[in-house]
């Protein structure tokens, strides 16, 4: 399939309703993606488990990716294998993930910032 096929597939989805803000679980990546705002961003890796998304204009956190979700304790209780993930889910995921790390001052600050962002009223972007 070429770029035209990809373009047609994407075009077929453009009119579908968005669910912003929100996130989803990826089975192939074993990770959860979450977007508080829909703006251009740069990935900023905290560690092997968490990457935050920072807005290009002022580096604020606008989203987060949590990896190795299936290895988290209480994974079954989190019920993340659903297509829709909310802010509360993300706070729980970040706290559980942080508990598995060997925190440094820098990583603690970044995790704290990400958790704080997940607790803010989300912007649709």
């Amino acid at each position: 399939m070429d770029q035209n096929d990809l373009g047609r597939l994407m075009d077929s989805m453009r009119s579908e309703p968005a669910k912003k803000p929100g996130g989803f679980f990826s089975e192939s990546g074993d990770c959860v993606f979450f977007y508080n705002e829909d703006v251009p961003y740069v990935r900023d890796r905290i560690d092997g488990l968490v990457t935050v998304y920072r807005a290009i204009d002022d580096s604020r956190i606008i989203g987060v990716q949590v990896k190795n979700v299936s290895r988290l304790p209480f994974h079954d209780a989190l019920q993340v294998e659903v297509s829709s993930v909310n802010q509360r889910d993300m706070v729980r995921l970040l706290l559980l993930t942080f508990a598995k790390t060997e925190p440094t001052e820098d990583s603690t600050t970044k995790y704290t910032d990400a958790i704080r962002k997940m607790n803010e009223p989300a912007l649709a972007g």
Partner: protein, 152 residues
């Protein structure tokens, strides 16, 4: 063996990707789940529109790194490119990529599951932050192995 014109139910085929197992050899197909495309559209236009940037990255990467997860015995790769422009997230709109790289993550089943902009490594400017050969040699690398470096 991965032959041409395969199909996977529920997946969109991305042709002509450089083969991470044999980067100088025959091109292969990678896959992106239709659900992943849907979810990208639902939650981030920037992510959604840059699926096209990801499709270009896997064809002509500057770097391919293997072993993309800590402690993960399975493979998985990170393709790296440096496009001048990327999608802005507003339809077909483009924006300058600036001094940044574009990365695409692929699992051991050759499924693309993530992509986006990243900062360059301070040592190897064609590797994403923390993924230079030096970092790898010193055992502090973000990935396990550098399997492809574009030389021309």
């Amino acid at each position: 063996m991965r032959t041409m014109n395969q199909q996977r139910n529920g997946y969109h085929r991305l042709d002509n990707a450089r083969n991470p197992d044999d980067p100088s050899g025959e091109r292969i197909q990678l896959w992106m789940s239709i659900e992943m495309v849907h979810n990208s559209q639902r939650y981030s236009n920037f992510r959604f529109e840059n699926i096209k940037t990801a499709a270009a990255c896997i064809v002509d990467p500057l770097r391919i790194n293997a072993h993309i997860r800590d402690g993960d015995e399975s493979q998985g790769w990170c393709y790296v490119s440096a496009p001048d422009q990327i999608r802005s997230g507003q339809g077909d709109g483009l924006m300058q990529n600036g001094d940044r790289l574009f990365t695409v993550f692929v699992d051991s089943e050759f499924r693309v599951f993530d992509w986006g902009r990243e900062n360059r490594d301070i040592v190897d400017r064609d590797s994403p932050d923390g993924a230079s050969e030096q970092a790898l040699a010193e055992g502090r690398g973000r990935f396990g192995e550098l399997v492809w470096i574009k030389t021309t």
